[in-house]
Symmetry: C2
Subunit: 347 residues, 2 copies
């Protein structure tokens, strides 16, 4: 903290991937921004978390202070969410014993993580808040639609205030502000109960045969390097491999259908997922007695968020326009780092 | 084969469990019947299949011949179902090199597995056929409802003939004769998109947090030893542990709800699953221009099949009444063993 300058690292510690952003902050602006992430399924070895954190931190460089958001506490590797939050906080302190570290809480404040935690749940699932608070600085009236690997956040911002009804995951599910659907790891059977076969609709197998990443690979909306999770069958990420997985949802082999038919199935899943998100966007905006809001599309699935906005006929903008390219897939850690820098230099 | 007597072993080689039945057959009747099974997830180490087969066979005792049905070929450990069938057949031959072994085909005939396979797919997913053919011997007019760990078979039998419209899994899904829902491993998110919270309906997380076995443990319909698959979180099979898993579907911890509320959630999932099966039962029977058929309830989920019959007001009978207690959870291997014994002694 040198006057109004500082270097902060923000974290988004999730159940399947951990993301970090490093900001050089100077005179209320981002001077430089770097991001890094690592695919790390916490239930496959939670004791490796400190080393994952250290690796990412090393890749980014030194910092004056760190800000933590997380969603990993929901993983069932922890008996309760409270256990989860405590574990993640312990790991962060272990990885960076000499740094000031803060956790973003559900009210948008920072807690000093070197002090004993009074209410661990106030640190649960605040990554969406980091994004929304950052966005509210530049876009006082908008609808944030952040589509990630398994979840979609739909956050209304009015007159510079985050007016989301829910703060906890459960309340956000109830409000339609959190939808458990995303563009990578969502099982196809959680998006649709049927797939089109000719003029019929065939019920799908409720097996972990294909995921949304397969659908968007088939449709050419994701490149192989975007498919950053494991494939359900452990095979490749080519379009042909994705088609093989999708047809297994109706207990079939790829040779049973033409390529065009399989693309038709993928399109059907995409349209079903889009309709679900569109409906939630309508509901969230209506609740605030608005008919429309400009949509800020972000996350790995920003392409889908843009599709949804177009379906609704609402204006749409990519968050990258406001924050620069690197930020758009890493908005929660960028948000956390920015908010911390602001807080440290202005308090 | 001593005149009209023989000893046969029938197999049902599935993706998560392998079941066997040994029959001493004499003068067109079952003299003694033993069954055995092993929980074996084939995608976790398919090379262990021959040893699983040998272990189960040793537990049952020697046989004159064996009959194979399977569903394991659908597992995505195999690139195609054809590969899957060939692999399973190779394993059976490897495990029992000196025995006559036959595969039940989709037309209800037996193929000698010591000869080269011309059409491997004709051996895919025939376990339901073994059950239905066996049942048709004693119940010429009925609806077989076999509810297992992940699937439900609804098979109409009229005038002693199996009048199912589908033979392949895909065609059976289309006809409503195969439903991908069961009482153990079906993810709760594949049964229902919402859970009741007070007067509201909360969308569920599409994560592998809780399965149907948790629902039926909570409702006291399954005992811990019936919960024969792994738990989603690797923890225990008590009702308390099952409740913890179910509430995680709405991103909550057990302490957030009363026990009564969680039982209400479980009941809701049960009713949703029952409604799905009831609808398919109606549809299958209607297609044959009947209003009702006596229901034969079998499988690990025969309790649910009986619930469904009661909901419809149709007469219901447990298959155990016809075949004896041991048979009811192992009808496909019992059917395969019986049909083979009949075929060997009468041809």
């Amino acid at each position: 903290m040198r006057g109004n300058a500082c270097v902060t690292v923000g974290w988004d510690i999730g159940g399947v991937s951990t993301k970090a952003a490093r900001l050089v902050y100077h005179q209320r602006r981002i001077k430089t921004l770097q991001t890094a992430d690592q695919y790390f399924e916490i239930w496959k070895g939670k004791e490796r978390l400190p080393s994952v954190l250290r690796t990412l931190s090393k890749a980014l460089g030194p910092a004056d202070a760190m800000a933590v958001t997380m969603t990993a506490e929901l993983s069932d590797v922890f008996p309760t969410k409270t256990h989860g939050v405590r574990y993640v906080v312990r790991c962060v302190r272990k990885a960076f014993p000499d740094l000031p570290i803060y956790g973003l809480d559900v009210d948008g404040g920072f807690l000093d993580l070197r002090r004993p935690l009074k209410d661990p749940l106030s640190l649960a699932a605040t990554n969406w808040l980091a994004t929304a608070m950052l966005l509210a600085r530049s876009r006082p009236n908008c609808l944030l639609v952040d589509i990630g690997s398994t979840t979609t956040d739909i956050i209304p911002i009015l007159e510079g205030r985050i007016v989301a009804r829910g703060r906890s995951d459960t309340d956000r599910l109830l409000a339609g502000e959190l939808i458990y659907t995303g563009v990578l790891r969502t099982p196809v059977s959680a998006i649709t109960a049927v797939l089109p076969l000719g003029h019929a609709r065939c019920p799908v197998a409720s097996e972990y045969f294909a995921i949304s990443a397969d659908v968007y690979r088939i449709l050419g909306r994701l490149e192989p390097h975007d498919y950053s999770c494991s494939t359900p069958d452990g095979r490749g990420k080519s379009q042909a491999a994705a088609r093989r997985r999708l047809v297994r949802m109706v207990c079939a082999d790829a040779k049973d259908f033409s390529e065009r038919e399989v693309i038709g199935m993928a399109r059907f899943v995409h349209e079903t997922q889009r309709a679900q998100i569109v409906e939630a966007m309508r509901r969230v905006v209506r609740w605030h007695r608005r008919r429309t809001l400009p949509v800020i599309a972000t996350g790995l699935g920003s392409f889908l968020a843009r599709d949804c906005a177009r379906t609704l006929g609402w204006p749409v903008e990519n968050i990258a326009v406001s924050l620069g390219r690197g930020a758009s897939h890493h908005t929660p850690p960028v948000g956390a780092a920015y908010l911390l820098a602001e807080w440290l230099t202005e308090r």
